[in-house]
């Protein structure tokens, strides 16, 4: 059953990933990306990494892909406005594919399966929500706080860099205050 699920999910992930690249319609490509992410999340579930699967769906499928869709709608791209690949791009992707193939081949040839169930006591930290949360609020409390500041600064930065600054109003109020 698990093997069958693994095969189905892998096929879904790979096929939709290929369709993301070759699709001429940007909206369809984004939807296939979503499907590919769902397949990956399913693979994580098979590995007992429920939290990771959940976060993947929540963050990528929920937030990132919908952001993509918004941007595609705003940009209003036409399907025929696609340029042919450059020779350099083709050569680079061939080289990248070759390297990846070599890597996978060497992994397959030298693979020695790890002893299964050697350490059942050591549950991975990211597996369950409870263990993850306990870690976040004890061991990694300081980085969590720092990340909070990071997000605050990023949000302020977006506001500062995009919002129109109302100088004239403040200047008139300033002059009113000093007068």
């Amino acid at each position: 059953m698990t093997d069958l699920l693994f095969l189905v999910l892998s096929a879904v992930t790979l096929v939709s990933a290929v369709l993301v690249v070759v699709n001429r319609n940007a909206v369809n490509a984004a939807m296939f990306f979503l499907l590919s992410l769902v397949g990956t999340a399913g693979l994580f579930v098979l590995l007992d990494a429920y939290l990771l699967a959940f976060v993947l769906i929540l963050v990528y499928a929920g937030a990132v892909v919908s952001l993509f869709l918004f941007i595609i709608m705003l940009l209003d791209t036409r399907p025929e406005a696609q340029k042919p690949f450059k020779k350099m791009t083709v050569a680079a992707s061939l080289l990248g594919g070759l390297l990846l193939f070599t890597g996978v081949l060497s992994l397959v040839l030298r693979f020695t399966p790890a002893p299964v169930g050697a350490d059942p006591a050591l549950a991975p930290v990211g597996a369950s929500l409870k263990a993850y949360a306990e870690q976040l609020f004890t061991t990694y409390l300081l980085p969590v706080q720092v990340v909070g500041f990071l997000l605050l600064v990023a949000m302020l930065g977006v506001i500062v860099l995009s919002k129109r600054f109302q100088e004239p109003e403040s200047r008139s109020q300033n002059s009113g205050g000093t007068a």
């Binding site: 870690q135 004890t138 061991t139 300081l142 720092v146 500041f149 990071l150 300033n174």
Partner: protein, 506 residues
């Protein structure tokens, strides 16, 4: 993990140990609250609050210096308090204090919100202080990203100027690339180390500096770990602007607002070197045989590239950027020496302090010599500066002289101590390259001094553009700050004793 272990981890979260960082962060939040609470007419007092808060933090760090927590690790091994960490705290607060002073000069000229600038500077400074004390790759990366995200915003702050936007975009792309490279290196190290079971059932991973160092000690020829270490160092090299990763420097330095350029030149570079010293000393020390040749090549190329490209530069901010690359090269010399000579790390910090004083003096003069568009800052702007504003010209000459390493000034001693460390580490070839670099640097620094002190001949029709160069008269506060920087540069050149005994401990 059992509940007892979690309780122990929670008990090691000693927030008092991080009082300076917490105070800076609270001050940053207070700035935002003040902007909401105060009436608009009082808003010009908010920068003064930022400066006062940093001054209090600086005094606080000095007062309980090396008394508590020194040599201990808190937050479950995320933070290790060390002498260098304290030095870094003093350095970063001093630097951001001066950046805020530059901002009080430059920001009112533009139509941009002000409070957010000081807020971001304070948060970035606190993150740099954490970065210099981190002992764990998770803490390290989170602090580094906070620094980088804050700097993305600061670099593109004057968004009305197209050059600033270009600089912001370039910094964003290059910074994201360098973060990705560094993260990839960290992950490779983590994967290579795997899980290590320690005493009393605690599990250690490659994220901890100590565990990674122990693994590298045992397996110095593990390919994955060495590749990870090299990738991490490449990410750091982006931050300090060392040779193959320096392409972003001139454009970003030119386009960024002047206070931010100073922040990049001093704090960001020093953060890079603090990290480099931390990694070289705590994690990558066993990889000496691989890292010394790589870093040596990098240092030599950095010195030559920085000096040669600065030779023909006429834009003042690009000149500071390119010469900053060469300073990164000299500092790398000290980092390489610290593999074999233990006190070389202190020499790096001494050089950074002299660099801080001189660079901030030069940027202070630059802030008073520009108008609204501070990206087009040619050396011709300084024509007749010595006649119009003799004080600014004198400060400029002292700052540039110290950067060039002219004998009675502090910069000379910084270079001398660094070169002695390199000599003791037997880095003779690199020393020769560095000395050639110093000689080259005198040419372009004195070109700038010449532009300020000696009238250049120009055809009669172009004199109007020269006299139209905008110059602001420094306020009393500004005069005092610039004078303090210049006097400190001179005095440190004659009496380096207190600072060297603190940094190097001789």
């Amino acid at each position: 993990m059992s509940l007892e272990l979690l309780k122990a981890a929670a008990d090691s979260n000693q927030w008092w140990a991080l009082a300076p960082e917490v105070m800076l962060a609270c001050a940053a939040l207070a700035l935002l609250v003040l902007e909401l609470v105060l009436p608009r007419a009082e808003h010009h007092k908010i920068p003064l609050f930022a400066i006062a808060a940093q001054a209090i933090v600086l005094v606080g760090v000095f007062l309980n210096f090396d008394t508590n927590w020194l040599g201990e690790s808190t937050f479950g091994g995320l933070i290790r308090h060390s002498n260098w960490g304290q030095i870094a705290r003093v350095f970063f607060v001093l630097s951001s204090l001066l950046v805020c002073f530059l901002a009080t000069v430059c920001l009112p000229r533009t139509r941009m919100p002000r409070v957010e600038f000081y807020h971001t500077v304070l948060v970035v400074t606190a993150a740099m202080m954490l970065l210099a004390q981190s002992d764990h790759f998770v803490m390290f990366f989170v602090a580094l990203e906070t620094v980088t995200v804050g700097l993305y915003i600061l670099v593109s702050y004057f968004r009305d100027n197209p050059l600033t936007l270009e600089a912001g975009l370039k910094y964003l792309v290059m910074g994201a690339l360098s973060s990705a490279i560094m993260l990839f290196g960290i992950v490779l190290l983590y994967g290579a180390v795997g899980r290590v079971e320690g005493a009393n059932g605690a599990i250690h991973t490659g994220f901890e500096f100590g565990t990674a160092a122990a693994f590298l000690q045992a397996h110095p020829d593990n390919f994955l770990a060495v590749a990870g270490a090299l990738l991490v160092l490449s990410g750091v090299a982006f931050k300090i602007g060392a040779f193959p990763f320096q392409i972003w420097v001139p454009d970003v330095y030119q386009g960024a607002p002047t206070p931010v350029t100073a922040f990049l030149a001093v704090s960001s570079k020093a953060a890079g070197f603090a990290v480099l010293l931390l990694l070289v000393r705590n994690v990558f020390a066993p990889l000496q045989s691989v890292l010394v040749p790589v870093l040596s090549l990098m240092a030599g190329a950095t010195i030559l590239f920085g000096n040669l490209s600065a030779l023909t530069q006429r834009n003042a901010k690009r000149l500071m950027g390119l010469s900053g690359i060469s300073h990164a090269g000299y500092l790398l010399l000290g980092v390489i020496a610290s593999f074999t000579v233990p006190w070389a790390g202190g020499a790096v910090w001494f050089y950074l302090f002299t660099y801080l004083l001189a660079t901030m003096a030069v940027f202070g003069v630059m802030a008073y010599c520009t108008g609204e568009n501070d990206a087009d800052h040619e050396l011709d702007t300084y024509d007749r500066l010595s006649r119009d504003r003799p004080f600014l010209a004198a400060v400029l000459a002292i700052g540039l002289g110290s950067l060039a390493g002219i004998p009675p000034l502090a910069g000379f001693l910084g270079k001398l101590i660094l070169f002695i460390a390199a000599f003791q580490a037997h880095l003779y070839t690199l020393l020769a390259v560095a000395i050639v670099g110093v000689v080259l640097s005198i040419y372009y620094y004195f070109g700038w001094i010449k532009a300020a002190f000696f009238e250049s001949w120009r055809p009669a029709f172009s004199t109007e553009t020269a006299t139209a160069a905008p110059r602001t008269t420094p306020s009393l506060f500004g005069t005092l700050t610039l004078a303090l920087l210049a006097v400190a540069t001179v005095v440190l050149g004659f009496f380096p004793g207190p600072l060297t005994s603190w940094l190097i401990g001789k």
